[in-house]
Amino acid sequence: MAKKKRPQRSKPRPARAAARNEADLPTARVVNAPQAPAPAPAFWFGFEVSWAKLLVARVVIFGILALDAVLQVRHAPRYGASDFNVANLGFLDSMGPGRVAYGGCQLAIAALLTFAVFGVATRYVLPVATVLYAWLYFGSQLDSYQHHYLVALVLAIACFVPWQRPSRDRDSGREMTAPSTPVRSWALRLLLVELGIMYLWAAISKLDTVWLDGTTLSTQIVGGLRSMIEGTVGFAVVSVMVIVIELTLAFTVWLRPAWKIAAPLGLLFHLGIVATGFEIGLFAYVMLALYILVIPDRIWRGAAEISAVEMLGKATRAITDSRGQIMLGLLAVVGVPLVVFNRLPHARTLGFLVIGIAVVAMTIAQIKKRRGGAVPAAALAVLMLWTVVDRSTTVAIDYYRFWGGSQRRIGDRDQAERAYRGMLEIEPTSEIANFYLGRILLADGRDPEGLERLHDAQHDEPRRARAFVEEARWLATQGKRLEAIAKAKDAVFADPSDAEAKAFFDSLQGGGKQPNRPKPDDDL
């Protein structure tokens, strides 16, 4: 029976093959009017969206995921710490990512997804990004966010979507792709069905008395939104509403005629989650980005006709359709300083690798006389993304701080010292790094440098007592009681509210037993 159906499916193939030859782009499928009939079942294989919608989805979804990947670099130090790992998939227990691999892979994922944003070799960059992402997620239960599981699935499905611009006529150079050009993709339908399944199970998981009576939600929501809910309908009603919304979305998000309901409902729902301030990273924004596929096509077609958007599109095409020499020059002039300026771990090595790949890809494009302007443009965007995130957030500093803190607590002084030295390289006035490095050095008998670090810490934050106290402790152990008292006095002056400083000063003056050193947990 199945074999009898095969001839029907082969009908559109000649047209598709011809289109491929014209386009010279194996990942793209030109869908010209009149369209070839879709193979059965049309629900899957006849699903079409406009090129305008697909382009916006590509740029926004992969753009957010690329940004999210760079932000994850700060969590790298927890991976591989103490050589302990429990994987999400049991067979990966001993093959989970370590600190270096995790940090490097997240930067690589960000780079690959930025290439996807520019439509560069999506057929290749997306599978590689998916494999790396899946390894990081499934390789360790340290990542317990279920939305990262969703992202792994979304990326896997996205590998089968024809994200690149359908085509232009090779001979005449005439643009064949209009914003309204339909692009057929079963994978996009599958992506929406996957969202529907997720909503269904999310709703089922909430059929629990402690959810239905509002108890669960009331423990999760804080701030202004909490006051608003308490002052209006109450948590029990909102909890039931959440289930109703999720069930509605489960049956409408993948069904085109129901998008009029799903789009506003889903957007408001996820905007509401943004308003809750849940610590779920960029997940709410990823969900909002996925709704680009649910917003009816005519809205994106209309947006594409706005003159400013048209101009932006023409400018972008002028860059991506060029031979790319100008962009390559720009990459050399701007990209190299960006790489050198970047402080993220491994970013310099990977940055030069990105530039190298761009140069090789451009050379191949030149030899084959193909347009290749998108490659250096994407490479430049990667370097800009890394550097902007580095310089506008605390990702790099957090990386070294978390690394140093965790290694210090589990007693690995060598690793902790490396981490704090790395932190001082990028932030020489860090009180945290100077203080803990000073302590490590003093404990290791390297007194002169240890004291120097403590003095730097005192200078970095003169209102914080602990570096003064630490020096006073060291002086006391060296038998220099008067100098210790003077330093302890400095500590009390620095922060009169510091109980430890006061107790230590009193103990030195009274000649009594010195209080134990508290375990500082404030600087993870």
């Binding site: 710490a81 302990f84 599958l190 402690v210 669960t216 965790s406």
Partner: protein, 136 residues
Amino acid sequence: MLANIPHLGPLLSTWRGRLIALVVVSQLLLPLHYYFGRRDPHDERFAWRMFSPMRMAQCSPEVRIDGKRFELSSEFHEAWLETARRGRFRVLEQMTARLCKKNPSSEVVLRLSCQYLGQKQPVVYGGFNMCLSDEI
């Protein structure tokens, strides 16, 4: 037989269709494992239970080696302790397995006390020598 079912037959006759069927069926069925097959109620992975009541459970793992209380923070990263405080059995079992290996011929007792939303009394798991048993 499946090939004779309308819509399903044509779907399963291509690799794309089979992939679609695999994804849809697995995603519909996989969460059932949490409700019917999982021994650890705290392990909500792959079940799409975001913001669930179970996520709000607060557990206190206590490990004693030969009767002496052992500080897990001296051996494991804070992020693993956070996972342990969510009561994730498999993580706790791997932790105690490591401690058993490091302390051969010692008794490593794990006691996990979990407080759930809507319940007044905590539920206690374990309380026995984990070196003699792989599972809580």
